[in-house]
């Protein structure tokens, strides 16, 4: 597998991140316990509209999605647009790519802007684990469908007669993988053991995430990125006063049945979270005509997937392969980035990815390089905290990361000049991963 610089140099034009808005993320069953995905996505859109004066504006396209989705929400994004102050003539569509949903909506829309197909767009994502769909068993569902099709009394009785008491129990939503029946945490626990990631390293990463997110809140960094919702004014999962000592007291929750010592706890894993995020995108011309300051350009993106079912790679390791391909396409190395954002599904996910990139063996045998792919300076990693502290409403995480780092890139450029770059990496269920390059505008 030869990695070469193949990125086209004649890209028609830039796609710009112009701003973002999210609602504070809340812990499952918390402030948004009775808010639906549509409620939260609409609230995030409304905040964006208010911040950027987009009332009655016909946006080129709005794309968003949710991972845990009710069947009634087949047109979730369009319904949210209709409930917002945007022009009702704004088209919209739904996207679903597990935890990469939010970033995938952004990449697709950015590409349309680059092609000249759109002048403006809003990407987004939302998830509620509080208002998750509850599904009936397959046996009950089939029986009920047969009943609805039955014509005679005998057929109806036959359909009803097939229902057994145990069929009536609802099927709770689950984040376990359909092919392995292992939860995401259990999958990561295998990878954690594989890469020898220690408890201490995970707790330390979690602590830094909380400290940095808290510092950003205290500095007012999120004043123009977040709009309060239902009384929640700050990310509900943030623990400003946590410490290594406190994190060390938590009992391991994943990997307890593996041979290796279990290291993953509630403190170094993301909790179930509710929330929504949006990102405003546009062309240079559209930004100028609306008096909006471009924050960053979406340069490129690369999706990846690993064969976690049969192969040796962990469920959440796809970015370890996608990032080297993405960077090679642009002739870049990790050293060319001012910021690296790796979604903290688990502290160990980030650490396993970094370990893979630092491994000469992995670099040679899996990436086809001469040696290790590279090292990420921890000072540049998740500089304003990430999902361990903020929480992780699956589809909303991409928008949170992009809006945060786009603002940071813009501030950095204003301060130091140049064109600093950021790398964004998000792992997802199904062995998926999506990665992207942003540069300051």
């Amino acid at each position: 597998m030869a990695l070469e610089k193949t990125a086209p140099t004649n890209v028609p034009r830039r796609a710009l991140v112009l701003g973002g808005n999210r609602i504070p993320f809340a812990r499952s069953g918390g402030a948004y316990a009775h808010a639906s995905n549509q409620d939260m996505l609409t609230a995030a859109l409304e905040g964006l509209v208010a911040r950027y004066g987009l009332q009655d504006e016909r946006i080129g396209e709005v794309a968003a999605g949710a991972v845990l989705k009710h069947s009634r929400d087949f047109n979730l994004t369009r319904e949210a647009v209709l409930g917002s102050s945007l022009s009702p003539t704004t088209p919209a569509y739904d996207v679903q790519q597990a935890c990469a949903t939010g970033l995938e909506t952004l990449v697709g829309l950015a590409n349309k802007i680059r092609l000249g197909q759109l002048e403006s767009a809003i990407s987004g994502g939302v998830d509620s684990t509080s208002d998750a769909p509850i599904v009936v068993t397959d046996r009950l569902r089939r029986a009920l469908l047969d009943l609805s099709r039955a014509k005679t009394a005998a057929q109806k009785l036959a359909a009803l007669g097939r229902i057994r008491p145990k069929d009536l129990a609802p099927v709770a939503p689950s984040t376990s993988e359909p092919r392995t029946h292992l939860s995401m945490g259990e999958h990561q626990a295998i990878t954690t053991a594989q890469w020898g990631i220690t408890r201490e390293a995970q707790d330390e990463l979690a602590l830094v995430s909380h400290q940095r997110l808290a510092a950003a809140w205290d500095a007012g960094f999120f004043d123009d990125l977040v709009t309060p919702y239902r009384g929640q004014t700050i990310d509900g999962n943030l623990r400003k006063d946590t410490s290594l000592e406190k994190l060390a007291t938590l009992r391991p929750t994943f990997g307890t049945r593996l041979d290796a010592e279990p290291t993953m706890t509630a403190g170094n894993s993301t909790p179930l979270t509710d929330g929504a995020s949006t990102v405003l995108l546009g062309s240079d011309e559209w930004a100028a005509s609306h008096g909006l300051t471009p924050l960053a350009a979406v340069v490129d993106a690369e999706a990846g997937a690993v064969d976690f079912v049969h192969g040796e790679d962990g469920l959440l390791m796809a970015p370890a392969f996608a990032v080297p391909r993405l960077l090679a396409r642009h002739g870049l190395t990790l050293d060319d980035f001012a910021y690296v954002e790796i979604h903290e599904a688990f502290a160990a996910t980030v650490l396993s990815t970094l370990a893979a990139w630092e491994s000469p063996e992995f670099g040679r045998e899996r990436l086809g390089l001469d040696g290790a792919f590279g090292t990420v300076d921890r000072a540049l990693l998740n500089v304003h905290g990430s999902s361990l502290a903020a929480g992780h409403p699956f589809a909303a995480t991409g928008g949170r990361i992009v809006a945060t780092i786009a603002k940071e890139l813009h501030l950095r450029k204003q301060r130091d000049g140049g064109t600093p770059r950021a790398l964004v990496s998000i792992c997802a269920a199904g062995g998926l991963g999506l990665t992207a390059i942003l540069e300051a505008a």
Binding site: G47, G53, S85, V226, T227
Partner: protein
């Protein structure tokens, strides 16, 4: 919305306390006639009165005439307001408004004819009627002239205390050299005649200079102007944002980040922009200016409405309670004004309007910290206005009395009912009443009102 249960309780309570029921006040809406009925314009005496004639001509003139075309004498002819104007009181006639032009009185003896003529009409004024005097400032006048002029102020306040049925009485006090047809004299007269001034009562509004300009459209005087309103998420601030937008302004709604959800609703409702900002941060002025300039291309009006209370008896006042109120209510305003004044981008007839309080005029038990800031606002606008004058700008304050807001709704029922009744209109004002006064002082036609504080209090008993 008023709660029917508490409203009923309040009515019962005020009945028990021996208060008469308050007359409902009419508020302004676009398209409403300026005055709904006949207008009587009285001059200073029996002889010819050029000022009264000019006012009568303005009020009765045809609104369709082209604006500001010089007539044969070279004087500007103002667009008329098309009202049904009478120059002499007709017995038993019902007037909607009485305008008494007293600019030519030289002695208290001169007050007899115009005021007693007005007195004969007051009993039959329509509900929600208007009595407006136009007089001159007593400052620097000779003893007899000063006595007459100063007397008028007290007469207006007395008429206000006698008025019933939601009728208001107010006066316009012109500085020497300011003609009755000056932009701000005309602007003030229109404001006081209209329902925009529903809760302004017993007030003397000074017009200091001939600065200012009449709007092209009286229903949209802020057309093309960009206004910033702090504390815009709720209550009076939200009403100000909506009223400025209704009058044509593009509004930047500012509030603390924690109030962002309500702020979003306000901004989206008026097609403005929301700016979540802690106004006490050192770069707040720069942030406001940058937002207004990049998004809307200019900044013309700043309304300092954000305020907090940390009530405590003086003897028990803590450092934190004192400091927080000073920081938000006055220090932030001074810093923002400083940033705007030194920017070079706040120079096209700019307006600063700051919210004071009757507490700032009269003091209030348990509010020494708040009083320091609300009195401070009055001093601040007086000193700031001259700095803006070279640009055709001005700074003024509005001092609300008891206004029905979420904040006052939390008061215990009895003190709240008493507080409502402590003014001549015998009711609390609405947030929009404060907003209308702010909108007027933000408008081009208020450019000649320099560093003043306008009370919107229904003639509250304290500090008048």
């Amino acid at each position: 919305m008023p709660n029917p249960i508490t409203t009923t309780l309040s009515a019962k309570l005020s009945e028990l306390l021996g208060f008469s029921p308050a007359a409902p006040l009419r508020r302004w809406a676009p398209g409403q006639p300026l005055v709904d009925g006949k207008v009587l314009v009285l001059g200073s005496g029996a002889g010819p009165d050029a000022d009264a004639d000019a006012i009568a001509a303005l009020l009765s003139g045809s609104p369709a005439e082209p604006s500001a075309t010089p007539d044969a004498s070279g004087d500007e002819v103002l667009d008329g307001w098309g009202l049904d104007v009478y120059r002499h009181p007709v017995p038993d006639e019902r007037y909607a408004a009485v305008v008494v032009v007293l600019t030519e009185v030289d002695h208290p003896g001169d007050l007899h004819a115009p005021l007693l003529a007005a007195a004969s009409t007051v009993k039959k004024l329509a509900r929600g009627g208007r009595v407006v005097t136009i007089s001159r400032s007593a400052a620097d006048a000779s003893p007899a002239v000063a006595a007459a002029r100063q007397g008028i102020d007290a007469v207006v306040r007395s008429i206000a205390k006698e008025s019933r049925g939601g009728t208001t009485a107010n006066g316009i006090v012109l500085a020497d050299g300011v003609p009755v047809t000056a932009a701000s004299a005309v602007g003030a007269l229109r404001f006081l005649l209209s329902t925009r001034s529903a809760f302004v009562h017993g007030q003397l509004l000074p017009v200091d200079t001939t600065a200012g300009a009449l709007p092209t459209d009286w229903d949209a005087p802020l057309d093309g102007r960009v206004a910033v309103v702090t504390g815009a998420a709720r209550g009076i601030g939200a009403a100000i944002a909506r009223t400025l937008a209704r009058d044509g302004a593009t509004v930047v709604a500012v509030d603390v980040p924690a109030a962002g959800e309500q702020l979003t609703a306000v901004a989206n409702g008026i097609r403005g922009t929301a700016l979540q900002l802690d106004i006490t941060s050192p770069d707040a002025g720069a942030a406001i200016l940058e937002h207004a300039l990049t998004r809307h291309g200019r900044l013309d009006v700043v309304v300092h409405n954000a305020g907090i209370t940390r009530d405590k008896l003086f003897a028990n006042m803590t450092d934190a309670q004192w400091d927080a109120v000073i920081a938000v209510n006055i220090a932030a305003q001074l810093a923002i004004n400083e940033a705007l004044l030194t920017s070079g981008d706040f120079t096209d007839a700019p307006r600063i309007v700051s919210i004071s309080s009757t507490t700032g005029l009269a003091g209030n038990r348990g509010q020494t910290n708040y009083a320091a800031t609300k009195g401070g606002v009055i001093g601040m606008v007086r000193a700031t206005a001259p700095l803006l004058e070279p640009f055709g700008g001005t700074a003024n304050a509005v001092a609300p009395g008891f206004i029905e807001t979420e904040m006052t709704a939390k008061m215990p029922a009895l003190p709240r009912q008493v507080a409502r009744q402590m003014n001549s209109l015998q009711q609390g004002g609405q947030p929009v009443d404060v907003a209308e006064a702010v909108a007027f002082l933000s408008s081009p036609q208020a450019g000649g009102i320099v560093g003043r504080t306008l009370r919107v209090c229904g003639q509250h008993v304290v500090g008048a």
